[in-house]
Amino acid sequence: MKKDFLKYAKQRFVLLDGGFGTELQKQGLPAGVPPEALNLDAPDKVLAVHRAYLESGADVILSNTFGANRRKHPASGEAASLTAAGVRLAREAAGGKAFVALDIGPTGALTEPLGDLSFEEAYDVFREQVLAGRDADVILIETMSDLTELKAAALAARENSSLPVMCSMTFDESGRTFTGCSVECFGLTASAYADFLGINCSLGPDKILPLMKRLLAVSRVPVFVKANAGLPDSEMNYSVGAEGFAAMYSDYADIGVSVMGGCCGTTPAHIAAVKGMLSAKKPVERIIPYVSAVCSATKAVFIDGVKVVGERINPTGKKAMKEALLAGDLDYIAARTVEQVEAGADILDVNCGVPGIDEGEMLPRMVRFLSSLTDAPLQIDCGKADAVERALRAYTGKAIVNSVNAEDGSLDSLLPVVKKYGAAVVALTVSERGVPRTVEERLELARKIILAAKAHGIPEQDVFVDCLTLTAGAEQEQAMRTLSALTAIKREFEVKTTLGVSNVSFGLPARKIVNTSFLTMAMYAGLDLPILNPNIPENMQAVDAFNVLSGRDVGCARYAEKYAGYVEAAPAVKPTSSGAEELSSQSSEGELAHCIRKGLDRAAEITRELLKTHDGLEVIDDYLIPALNAVGEDYASGKIFLPQLISSAETAKKCFDAVRATLPAGSAEKGVIVLATVKGDVHDIGKNIVKTVLENYGYRIIDLGKNVPCEEVVRACRENGVKLCGLSALMTTTVDNMRLTVEALKEACPDCKVMVGGAVLTADYAEKIGADRYCRDAAESARYAGEVFANRGLERERKK
């Protein structure tokens, strides 16, 4: 019937069909056979189930295509032909009396970084299904537990079809999926990609109801339910009968759920009973809630008070961050990420605007990397629409785009992207006329952006107005104007506000003092999202105190907890030298070796002491390397075991850091080594141990991570002129990818030595696949690296 499903669903209840696999199994489908295979092998059985649901009164017949994807049916074209056949059968059964939904389930794989499925591959898998099922009336994506996969499926549907899209995830009773995605994160994120959001499977209607209320509280689109018939017993009999099921669904109708169906264990009788129940009811008109919130895949941040945006991942004026970005030093960036979250940042701003860096390539990489480190939502700090789009595509969650301004060019290029990915957006009140001077000008520019956003379908609660902090030292009157504008904007609009705080004190001494007061004044004036450095205690203290005084921190509970053991910072005392003198320099060599062997923090202190009388490279050659070698020998001979080896290596790293601080950048580096766990393999603990140990021998490691395609290994080795590459693989199935990687590497970089390791590898196999060395453990890899880089590295540096 190819009717307009959206129009149909607008004013009435819509009934989806019920359990499919369970119905087929009643007809004798063996449990090990994928149900979608019947679309070609036994279409009559599929038709029979469809017809039973049609007769029970379902308005929508779901095609038998839940698992008809390429990951589950890898043979070329099989997924598409099963999908097309499934939609055809549903259409034949519906016979113009019902809509046909293209049913899409998960691939069964987990997306990166924990799994091996890339977003792009997931998108392609679903794209194939969407194209093959284009004769349906609506696309229903269900039983998802991974928000990244759901986003890939929904985008594949949106970008390759004009059909309405319904998206549903499956939760446990606490409202989390297996990957940790909450109902709120699902609702906030997926509202952008779907016409309906739903909850299906796992639980019965009674257990889903509280979750459905949570979804209703955040979803911007209509919602649907597809519950199981209760929980199954060990014989797979489901507990809730048709009438009981319908009775429970009655509550759903009352709270504003207008689309309903059944999942596992439900039968045509269940659907008929729901039909009967609904015939006596009218849909409740649902008011879309005002919710201002952002989220990652696993954490939602509601802007219902002051929330802190951490500003440290930004190279502007920060030399170390700039260098880290240019060198791709992810460890440095990781440390800045973790420390901000620990200091109390709710959201992290991400900026990689460095000359020489392609933001379109770097931003999505950073977004993926930061998402693997923290569950704090991200604010993408960039004004280039193409780079922003790539970053938003890579981000799972509802991000903030920082920022658009009141220029037409900015609004026209960025707002469609913000809308498409459901982000929130910072509205910077500047225009081609420059920075506004008055409150009225700021209001006018804010109004222009808010209206433009609305025209693009972005509601006020997703607009965060930034009316600009200027420098009090230069334009003193502007500080109060900024604050007055904040208040005026909050009075006129239902937007949120944001400000970079620290700019106000530029050029003044003791900047912290001015910053803290300005922050407090701004919060009182209506600032919701201060962008600041959370590592400065005074900043967070001002926020905490404001939450107490504004009554947001009810009963002062959080404040009391955080500051219970608070001690006023003591005035700095100049360290006396007596402590250092206790360390006998006579026995430094022996003592350093001892501390490294035992993993004692004192090692770094001894190193610093040694540096007073020794050249940095001498300390490395005469003290650190022999100590590490001794540790390696102890490990090889079984005197110490793995965790002890690692903590020795960690301790040595602190010593190396102390030495490096005294040397010109790079001169203490003994060589560059690329490490990777090969394609298909996500077990990287062995590789990580090798990395830790090698780093602590003074090598610079380019860690490509896990599940690394062969081309990427080759590229990294070639571009960096690398002389040694280490590959790991754990599984028998992935060692073949190791062979392919070694082959490609030997061809592209004949000078690069390759060492390999992993549980199933042997020296023989390593030789067979052309690797230069099999390393049974991390200590062995350090020995081999020593051989490869002998007469390079330090020697070369010395000659300089």
């Binding site: 063996p30 090990g32 069964g108 940790g180 693997s372 005197k639 002890q644 603990i685 141990i689």
Partner: protein, 190 residues
Amino acid sequence: MKISRAETLRYLGFRGQELTAADEQDLDRAEELCLSAARPVTVWRRFCLEPDGVTLSGSGVTFRGNAILRHLAGCDAAYLVAGTLGLDVDKLVARLMREDPALAVMTDAAAVSLIERVMDELSDEISRKEGGRVTRRFSCGYADFPLEQQTDFMRLLDMGRKLGVYIGADHIMIPQKTVTAVIGVRKAEM
């Protein structure tokens, strides 16, 4: 559930070296972290075996390879079992690997002992149910029992929905601390 310290040490390659008080403390911490992140879940299903000894009745699934044929010799039924500690353990170990690598490997080893313990308890329960007439666990990837058959476990045990287990293109299961196995049930004496 308790984690066996001896097992954890064994996975760490411990052969009676000196254990300092700090090592012991770290091991305590590793076990604690592992237990708080782990959400052990298991699932099992019993099948009768067809006369060929390796086909699960009513499932359409036949095990391949000589090793499993030998393992199930004399059996007329088999249990498929699966268990996992959940994804939070993967996330924990990944985080610790960045923050404290020595603690990370200890936690990883503790997680291996824990999942083995979980599977041992399930095996014991099945053994009691079957009057002790059961074989040891036998898993895909052992000898010539192909790893590809992991997909049969996934489907027959509905592991995606019931356990939150995902499977990669190379048949690797996520969460990493996930085990699947076959346990044979020997024919009763006549």
